[in-house]
């Protein structure tokens, strides 16, 4: 059984909250660490475990202010895990991609992922 994940944010890394009981995953803040693979490993491992017995629904909230290209690959790995869970048929996953008003780069980044990953995305505009 996957355990509750509660990672506090730093100037270079986002808050990560994952509750395997409710199936809610939140990623908030900035993600610009030099070593992203190391930072995202606990979440990837947790999702791997969760995928064996997922909740019926999974709500994912991505609300990033900045992310570097090194994180972008790790975020894709997270989404690939979600895609695997969604495709399994026992869980319905929704990714809410938040972007701040006027932040076209962040909206575009969300659309790039949407084009690669077979999971429903919802683009959510938020006020600055």
């Amino acid at each position: 059984m996957a355990e509750l994940l509660n990672i506090e944010g730093t100037p270079k890394t986002p808050v990560i909250k994952f509750d395997p009981i409710t199936g809610k995953l939140d990623l908030k803040g900035r993600s610009i660490p030099e070593n992203s693979i190391e930072f995202y490993k606990p979440l990837i491992d947790s999702l791997e475990l969760f995928s064996t017995a997922p909740t019926k629904e999974m709500s994912v909230n991505i609300h990033l202010e900045y992310f570097n290209t090194s994180s972008s690959k790790c975020i894709l790995d997270v989404f690939k895990k979600l895609e695997y869970i969604h495709k399994g048929g026992n869980s319905s996953v929704l990714i809410n991609w938040h972007y701040e008003q006027d932040d076209e780069d962040m909206l575009e980044a969300g659309e790039d992922y949407q084009a690669i990953i077979a999971v429903p995305f919802k683009m959510v505009e938020v006020e600055e």
Binding site: E34, N35, I37, Y66, T69, K73, E104, E108, D112
Partner: protein
Amino acid sequence: MLDLYDFYNKMERNKIMLSFKGDVTSELLTSILQIMEAKLENLQEEAKVKKKVYNVLVECLQNLYHHMDEMSANTDIVADDIDPKVTRSAIFMIGKQGEHYTIITGNYIFNKNVAGFKAKLDKINLMDKQQLKEFYKEVLAEGGFSEKGGGGLGMIDIARKSGHKLDYLFDPIDDTYSFFNLTIRINQ
């Protein structure tokens, strides 16, 4: 003695806000990014401009950081030949001329890697906005990353977000090294 005033004037003429020469560590980048964020805040830039400059800056500086690591870890060259002053040292400057921000970076590169790297930069420079978007997605989806998670996407992202061509130069130093100059202009 170093002509400090000449040094000062050159930086003043080029409207340099911040410059650094030395070893690029993770702690250094944290501090530099905090300083630059405060400066952008003080200049009261629009949120959009602030984000763009910050984003491109992160990529440029982390490129340097990962490059330093690769240089030190190079195993093709006999350990005695690797000069830590060369492999761990870089320079960068951040300036603002008129409405444009400029990020300039310089670092040593092995001569044997120049041709391959140049081909990659030229390929990126031939692409328009839409082609860069497609190329970014392609490289992202394919993976093809180094273990450190750098490489691959950095330059594509810089070209995509800055809205300008990657202005570069390889300055030959000796039989082993060249000095790589990169100047990035950021559109507001």
